[in-house]
């Protein structure tokens, strides 16, 4: 198999590989189930967010409000279920959160698809609106007693085990939700007309319109879908943390977008892959969890992420610029 070094995916995969090699040399204990499950656990919520962010980038937009949607959905779901239906099973809690997410996503969708406002501005505005509305009118105290369904989901482990040194490791069932989201989104993007239309709209809105794509419908769908995914990520986050803290999640949005772009998605729209997105998420989570293993203190974490973003986007940008200069 020929390796294409101009692709972001290759670059990110190589950085991950290099990181793991250095980490294993400095601490042979790094290569363990515990590290792997920690990594997977850390990627659950971020992975769902990243898939959502990828979809928006593919359609040629940018969404910074999805973390606020997630926090809103998570908090209101916990509150509503506690008040009206504390005994419902976990899947009902998921359905409620996803419905709340869809509703908020639809608000974004209306402004973007039907009023034609720029996506960055709308989502910047709704980020403040959703968060402000939740904190001012719904509540700003964290909910420590979650509804029964969410508590039950929080205890569901897919894999449990003991390390050689006696500590425990486990993988939460929520990981399956992330896998499901990735598979469903892959199917949507590559096996349905709607998915191809998303690429078309992102590539060129005008061209898409002329070949008969319902551009407004596609855009509206994208923001609703992102809302659903954000709602799902929110309810999973609260269940795993066993608390619904309204101040959680918001602030992650730019890191998520950075992870997606690190994986090769273009900000201009129309180009990006799920593989790259997942690699980008893996790299960011790896750096966050294990920087200390390769001998860099944790206070340097944000510098490391910043350098990664600059390298991960700089190398392809520099190559593209040189290629353009050669062609001219």
């Amino acid at each position: 198999m020929k390796i294409d070094f101009t692709r972001n995916e290759t670059l990110v995969a190589l950085i991950i590989l290099g990181f793991c090699v250095i980490a294993t040399i400095s601490d042979p204990g790094f290569l363990s189930m515990a590290t792997l499950t920690d990594l997977m656990r850390g990627g659950i919520v971020m992975g769902i967010f990243a898939v959502a962010a990828l979809l928006v980038l593919l359609s040629g937009g940018i969404d910074v409000s999805f973390t606020a949607v997630a926090a809103f959905a998570m908090y209101t779901t916990a509150l509503m279920l506690n008040t009206w239906a504390p005994g419902v099973p976990w899947w009902a809690a998921f359905a409620v959160a996803m419905a709340v997410g869809a509703l908020l996503g639809a608000i974004n969708g209306i402004f973007i698809a039907f009023f034609g406002l720029p996506t960055l501005i709308v989502t910047l505005g709704t980020l403040s609106v959703f968060r402000g509305f939740m904190l001012a009118f719904v509540g700003s105290k964290q909910i420590t007693t979650l509804p029964e369904g969410m508590r039950e989901f929080g205890r569901m482990m897919m894999i449990r085990g003991t390390n050689p040194d006696g500590s425990f490791y486990s993988l939460h069932w929520a990981f399956a939700a992330t896998v499901l989201v990735v598979v469903a989104t892959w199917f949507l993007l590559h096996r349905t007309m709607l998915g191809r239309s998303i690429f078309a709209v992102g590539g060129s809105e005008e061209s898409a319109r002329r070949i008969g794509v319902n551009v407004r419908g596609v855009q509206f769908f994208v923001y609703v879908y992102v809302g659903v995914l954000a709602g799902l990520a929110g309810v999973i986050h609260a269940s795993m943390a066993r608390v619904a803290n309204p101040f959680d999640l918001v602030g992650l949005e730019l890191s998520v977008i950075a992870a997606v772009v690190l994986g090769g998605a273009r900000l201009a729209g129309g180009y990006g892959t799920l593989t790259g997105t997942l690699l980008g998420v893996a790299l960011i989570v790896l750096v966050r969890n294990s920087l200390i293993v390769i001998g860099i203190p944790n206070t340097w974490q944000s510098i490391a992420v910043g350098v990664l973003i600059l390298i991960g986007t700089g190398v392809p940008a520099w190559q593209a610029k040189r290629a353009a200069a050669r062609a001219a």
Binding site: P118, G125, T126, G132, L135, S140, L267, I303, G306, W318
Partner: protein, 339 residues
């Protein structure tokens, strides 16, 4: 006034903003007349807004080129921390008179140097290496914040000579120093954008980068200078924050980033480049501050303020898209009289 005149009055984004600004001011004055119009409130507003307003000016400049600077808060904090370190380690809280003034001057020079270095870093990443501004500055912002955390271990730097408070809390001829700083920077930026060749090149590049290149604009140099200026503005804002808080910390003003973007966009700056006027940004800042202070007086929670800011942003964008609809209608029915 004929209807067309009135239409003309509302034709520009800035005019509509001025109306919104006045409406907000009058509404707040009517809702709590004795407190909103009090001298105390007016001066406290004048001390409050310049720090994020200066960041909004930096944002405006970068948005004019179709870029964005997400590292402004990181630059502001990093440069404030460098200045704070000079003031605490070298001058010490006991310094007074000429000694204090000297160290204050030196720390300002150091601040500007940090701001310019950070801006140069951004400019090179964007102009020479071709990184998209949103990612380059997102990454560099993390790096600047990271350096600030690594320098201080995440804790606040404090213990300045008394003179350092002048920059954020002093008065010149009865006018708050931060306001004077903001006015000078806003006027300066407005002059540069409208009266110099550089300003014209910035707008040309923002409107159409390719056309600017073909018109022999040195794109690399223009972009680097834009991010240099943005870094410098951010450093000045950092000094004001430091002086007002009487300390410097790596995570101060983190909410100012989105606020600065919001104000620039509210001020009619096109985030895709090519259009924006300083007067619009000034009006947007004033509208935000009137709204924010007025709501504060009515005991509205901070969170509701966030909600209202977001609503205002979307509302103004909706109004701003209406002229396009009008233009479209006019095209279909032929040219309207008096236009």
């Amino acid at each position: 006034m004929t209807p067309s005149r009135i239409n003309g009055l509302f034709a520009s984004t800035e005019a509509r903003l001025a109306v919104i600004c006045i409406v907000v001011f009058v509404a707040m004055a009517l809702l709590s007349p004795d407190r909103f119009l009090s001298v105390q409130n007016l001066t406290s507003m004048a001390f409050q807004f310049p720090e994020f307003a200066i960041l909004a000016l930096a944002m405006t400049l970068t948005m004019l080129t179709g870029g964005i600077d997400l590292s402004v808060v990181g630059i502001a904090n990093l440069s404030a921390i460098v200045a704070a370190t000079i003031l605490t380690q070298l001058a010490g809280p006991a310094a007074t008179g000429a000694d204090a003034a000297l160290w204050l001057g030196l720390s300002m020079v150091a601040t500007m140097a940090v701001g310019l270095a950070a801006g140069l870093f951004n400019g090179i990443a964007i102009a020479v290496f071709g990184l998209p501004p949103i990612l380059a500055t997102l990454g560099s912002g993390l790096i600047f914040t990271g350096i600030a955390v690594a320098l201080t271990g995440g804790s606040a730097v404090m213990g300045f000579p008394a003179a350092a408070a002048w920059l954020g809390n002093g008065l010149i001829l009865g006018i708050p120093v931060p306001l004077v700083l903001f006015a000078v920077l806003a006027a300066g930026l407005s002059f540069i954008l409208t009266r110099t060749g550089f300003g014209l090149k910035v707008q040309m590049f923002g409107a159409n980068p390719l056309a600017a290149r073909f018109a022999a604009v040195n794109v690399t140099s223009v972009l680097i200078r834009v991010y240099l200026m943005s870094g410098m503005f951010a450093a000045i804002a950092g000094m004001v924050v430091m002086s007002r808080a009487n300390s410097a910390k790596a995570d101060y003003g983190s909410s100012y980033l989105l606020l600065a973007v919001l104000i620039a966009v509210l001020g009619g700056v096109n985030p895709y480049g090519g259009y924006g006027r300083v007067i619009g940004v000034v009006l947007a800042v004033l509208a935000m501050q009137f709204l924010s202070s007025g709501l504060n007086m009515m005991q509205v929670s901070n969170f509701a303020r966030e909600l209202i800011w977001g609503t205002l942003l979307i509302f103004v964008m909706l109004i701003n898209t209406r002229p396009n609809l009008r233009l479209w209608a006019r095209k279909r029915t032929g040219p309207a009289p008096n236009s």
